[in-house]
């Protein structure tokens, strides 16, 4: 399959075909995805205005003094970006995946050195003229490109240890630098790649073990330890009883039980001694935000109040009192979902969730129809990154996930974030459009 693809690729690279094909790319674009993209961006822009809206000082939605005006500028710039992304030969992304990745790693390191700390994080690069760039955002698409390129050259299922280590390195180097920049939230996003690798043949065990570990971790925080251990013991005993073949692996089961119990007891140590105080507080806020509603529980409590007060239909556009009067912090960026929850209620929130699910399944479908491993893997990377952002961002605003400062894709205020997701998505659409054009020929 890989060989076939290469042949196809070589033919495309010839200059004459490039010129002819670029004129014809738009009919092959996946317009449903493009429409979803525009819808989310437009809704995001309106909600950003609602979030910064102040009734006693009404500023025009287009004003550059407020976030909505600035966001519109970013949106405009994104359109230019989209045109560039679609015009550029899609093969460039595959061929230049490593150089782009290298450049972004370099940019991350430079940022780490030269950036001035903003709220404790040294992740912003000042470009002058009041424009700041967060290279951590760009690292996502760069890593997705590099990982996809690498996967297209190896077979993950053959379990070549060296290749697996290289893939792990490609995936883990950017988040490690980002952690050093004190942007743990952005670094966590790279965990999303696991989903893409799973599709490409990674053992489901990793996914299951990872998911179980996360579940045990959260449960340990919420349920008394003894109950949890008793519950897991019963569950394992039940499984063994139901399937007597497991008895043959009795030692393995006992070992597994030991690992889980050890994990339960190490959670306290992890939370209290490994995590930094602000991270501890985010964990505590998740468990019991009411313990300190004005302190570490503030964000979560206020966010839930804002969303909860929305009711079924919401208070109406620009009528939200909680978001309008600044009770919810970071309301146009990380907590933008509060504005929808408060002003558009359960109906509005559910519609937005539906839009995201539509977009995600659409991207998965696009990924699946790619003929190249590179294209497919890249598609899954895009879906996974968007999904992880969606999961954690919405989850934290409704008290289901710890507060991790990552934006809601296409929705939250912020140029770096919008550009990052635009690039991610439209590279995929460019690749897909060219595939369709190839087929049409």
């Amino acid at each position: 399959m890989g060989v076939e693809q290469k042949v196809l690729g070589n033919r495309l690279v010839s200059p004459t075909t490039v010129r002819r094909s670029s004129r014809l790319i738009t009919p092959h674009l996946d317009w449903v995805t493009v429409l979803l993209y525009f819808l989310l961006v437009a809704l995001g822009w309106m909600n950003i205005y609602a979030a910064v809206y102040s009734p006693d000082n009404v500023i025009n939605i287009f004003s550059m003094d407020i976030n909505s005006g600035k966001q519109l500028a970013w949106i405009g710039a994104s359109f230019l970006l989209i045109i560039v992304l679609l015009v550029v030969d899609h093969k460039v992304y595959e061929h230049l995946a490593y150089p782009i990745y290298g450049f972004i790693i370099l940019l991350l390191l430079v940022t780490l050195v030269v950036a001035k700390p903003i709220a404790g994080s040294r992740s912003w690069l000042d470009l002058g003229a009041g424009i700041r760039l967060q290279p951590a955002e760009l690292a996502k698409f760069a890593t997705a490109l590099a990982a996809s390129r690498f996967l297209s050259t190896i077979n993950l299922r053959q379990q070549n240890f060296k290749d697996q280590m290289i893939l792990a390195a490609i995936t883990l180097v950017p988040p490690l630098i980002i952690i050093l920049q004190n942007e743990t939230g952005s670094a966590l996003v790279f965990a999303a790649f696991v989903l893409a690798y799973f599709r490409e043949g990674m053992s489901p065990l990793i996914l299951i073990i990872g998911g179980s570990a996360a579940a045990v971790f959260i449960l340990t925080l919420l349920v008394p330890k003894l109950y949890l251990i008793a519950g897991i013991t019963i569950l394992m005993a039940l499984a063994t009883w139901l399937d007597y073949r497991l008895l043959r692996r009795f030692k393995v089961i006992i070992a597994l039980w030991g690992v889980v119990v050890a994990m339960i007891f190490s959670v306290d140590f992890f939370v209290n001694d490994v995590l930094q105080p602000h991270q501890q507080n985010r964990i505590k806020a998740l468990i019991n935000p009411e313990a300190d509603p004005l302190g570490f529980g503030w964000n979560v409590t206020q966010s839930k109040i804002a969303i909860g007060s929305g009711g079924l239909w919401g208070k109406g556009f620009l009528e939200g009192t909680q978001t309008k009067f600044d009770f919810v912090p970071e309301q146009s960026t990380d907590f933008i979902f509060c504005t929808i929850g408060e002003e558009h209620g359960w109906i509005g929130s559910t519609i937005l969730i539906g839009l995201f699910l539509l977009l995600l399944t659409r991207i998965v479908n696009i990924a699946e129809r790619q003929k190249s491993v590179f294209g497919r893997t890249y598609g899954y990377c895009v879906a996974s990154i968007i999904f992880f952002h969606f999961l954690v961002n919405v989850g934290m605003t409704i008290g289901l996930a710890p507060v991790v400062g990552i934006p809601l894709p296409f929705f939250s205020y912020g140029g770096s974030s919008l550009w990052s997701f635009t690039i991610l998505l439209f590279i995929l659409l460019a690749i897909d459009a060219n595939r369709a054009k190839e087929l049409a020929r």
Partner: protein
């Protein structure tokens, strides 16, 4: 390869699962759980109380007793303070530099963005001076509000005062609706009529942001209510008479209570020593209050209703005579010898051949006999039991005069006084261990008796009305054309028939005409004053002087009780004061200047 492709279903399944979990969770917090909606309201909507004007109080002639005066507070919003010249500010408000810094620190600690008082209750002069200079002090401004003011210096004890509500009251459910910093009646009329005076508060709902800064009205003020001003009160007090009473009592300790007999309206309510009510309105409120509280003469002691442990003395003989007449154990013509072997008589006097003479001469042995006739009627053969029966019957009658009970005046902290009872003596001596010889001093108003000056004045109202009283009160109208409270609109009858009053009242007229009360006589003005002197024994020092009276004899307009502590016989101090008060009230002037001079000289305090 096919089985790998199937993994897309796992991935889509995860997406769908997350979507469903989110939608369910949102449904729970948005639609099912109502608590978030309430939390949002308390978060963003602030109720701002609109304070109504507190009701004014007028005297019976329409003179202002209590008004609202503007006071000015210097406020500061720390956020807006810029380039502050602390030294100049300290010169402007005339406070030490240290104090100014301390106040600023306190304001900042309270809130950075919300106003807090920097310097409260500026006088009008200070206000004018500071206002002119305020332009150089951004972040400072003057807030005008109202405080109580008094265009006179009288009646402090009855008027009471208002002050900030105490933390204890705030916890009390009776005071629901009050907020910290609210002013509330603390004593006197201000306390008793709080619910009428305070008016109805209004509420404005404002939307506020996270820092408490106002962001406009909630739903365009649909739920706002307007404040309704408090009811004005019209007092029964005659301010001129009150001021004159205080003028006469100045320097002495005691009480003067004057009542309009027919209505129970209190005309004058003097508790001496007294203080200027204005002392409790200014900046120095706390200091003044503590100074008065700790003062040895007990200025804050509200004597007319709280001095309840003193026996009434000889004035009680009038009640003894009435009860004996009612019981039928004497007639107006009954005579007893002035037998000093039973009880001493203070002075030599004409023989008490009938009740009128006995009252005029205040003959102790006579009333000893009268009381014995009342108590020992031979209802039991056992003299102990007979005394107990007699005392119980007597007590039942004497309490219908309002003695030993609270009269129910519309002022707080009224005391009931003491009237001897069989239970009381049983406790002291044991049952059947006491008889008339044990309790005879009650006959002349001494012993186990305690009567407040208000009860004495009320007693005189009963005499004037020939048998009934209306509970004394200081407010005659709630609202400009209202009525007093219902309990002040009904008569309380004593156990004595009206016909028995004539001989006793005749005796009282004789007291003033030619007996011990001659200093209260207004015979020259053609006014017949009926009175009775008394001396309340005081184990701690010199006896207290008592004089009670009403006038005119027919169709009485004023009943009065004067109680002067440590002034000896009632004739020398209390009687002249009562006479002057009656004259002032009935004729609106005072003709007997020498008598006034005598009272003001306080020489009576030096007579032994």
């Amino acid at each position: 390869m096919k089985y790998l492709e199937n993994r897309k279903y796992v991935i889509k399944g995860i997406y769908l699962l997350v979507g469903i979990v989110f939608a369910l969770r949102l449904f729970y917090i948005q639609v099912i759980d109502r608590s978030y909606k309430q939390a949002a309201e308390t978060n963003a909507i602030k109720a701002i109380v609109q304070y109504p004007f507190r009701g004014l109080i007028y005297d019976r002639k329409g003179q202002l007793l209590v008004q609202n005066t503007p006071v000015y507070d210097l406020m500061v919003i720390p956020k807006d303070v810029k380039d502050l010249d602390t030294l100049r500010l300290s010169q402007l408000v005339k406070l030490p530099l240290e104090d100014v810094r301390e106040r600023l620190k306190k304001a900042r600690a309270f809130s950075y963005v919300q106003p807090s008082p920097f310097y409260q209750k500026l006088s009008t002069r200070e206000f004018a001076y500071i206002q002119d200079n305020l332009i150089d002090f951004p972040g400072f401004y003057i807030n005008a509000r109202t405080a109580r003011g008094y265009p006179h210096q009288s009646l402090a004890h009855a008027l009471g005062y208002i002050a900030e509500i105490s933390p204890k009251q705030l916890d009390d459910s009776t005071y629901r609706g009050y907020r910290p910093g609210d002013y509330i009646g603390k004593s006197g009329i201000e306390l008793e009529y709080e619910q009428y005076l305070m008016g109805q508060r209004g509420v404005k709902y404002k939307m506020v942001n996270v820092r408490g800064v106002e962001k406009g009205s909630f739903r365009d003020g649909t739920y706002d209510t307007l404040a309704v001003a408090g009811e004005n009160l019209i007092s029964t007090i005659d301010l001129d008479l009150q001021a004159y009473g205080e003028y006469l009592m100045n320097g002495a300790k005691g009480s003067v209570v004057a009542i309009e007999p027919a209505t129970g309206e209190v005309l004058a309510y003097v508790s001496s020593p007294f203080y200027d009510p204005n002392l409790f309105t200014g900046k120095e409120y706390g200091k003044n209050y503590m100074a008065l509280l700790n003062e040895p003469n007990k200025t804050m002691f509200n004597r007319p209703i709280m001095a309840s442990s003193n026996p009434p003395g000889s004035i009680f003989k009038l009640a003894q005579a009435l009860i004996a007449l009612q019981e039928g154990v004497i007639t107006p013509n009954t005579g007893y010898p002035c037998n000093q072997s039973l009880v001493k008589c203070s002075h030599a006097h004409q023989a008490p051949t009938n009740l009128e003479v006995a009252i005029k001469t205040s003959c102790n042995p006579y009333f000893y006999q009268v009381f014995r006739a009342t108590i020992n009627q031979g209802k039991s053969k056992n003299t102990f039991k007979d005394t107990a029966i007699g005392l119980a019957d007597w007590r039942e009658q004497i309490t219908t005069f309002g003695f030993g009970t609270k009269l129910g005046i519309d002022l707080p902290n009224e005391k009931s006084g003491i009237i001897a009872s069989p239970t009381m003596y049983n406790k002291i001596y044991g049952e059947n261990r006491w008889k008339f010889s044990t309790i005879y001093s009650l006959s002349i108003g001494q012993g186990e008796l305690g009567v407040t000056p208000l009860q004495m004045a009320n007693f005189m109202a009963i005499m004037a009305n020939r048998g009934y009283y209306v509970a004394p009160h200081v407010i005659r109208s709630i609202g400009e054309n209202g009525k007093p409270l219902p309990q002040y609109q009904k008569r309380h009858y004593t156990s004595i028939d009206a016909k028995h009053f004539k001989p006793v009242v005749d005796g009282m007229a004789a007291v003033v005409e030619s007996g011990t009360g001659r200093n209260a006589s207004l015979a020259k003005l053609g006014i017949a004053v009926c009175g009775k002197t008394g001396t309340a024994q005081n184990p701690q020092g010199k006896d207290h002087a008592v004089f009670v009276a009403f006038a005119p004899k027919d169709n009485p307009k004023i009943a009065i009780a004067v109680y002067v502590e440590n002034a000896g016989f009632g004739a020398q101090s209390a009687a002249p004061i009562a006479g002057l008060m009656i004259e002032k009230y009935l004729t609106d002037s005072v003709s007997r200047k020498p008598m006034e001079q005598w009272v003001l000289s306080r020489k009576y305090l030096e007579i032994d």
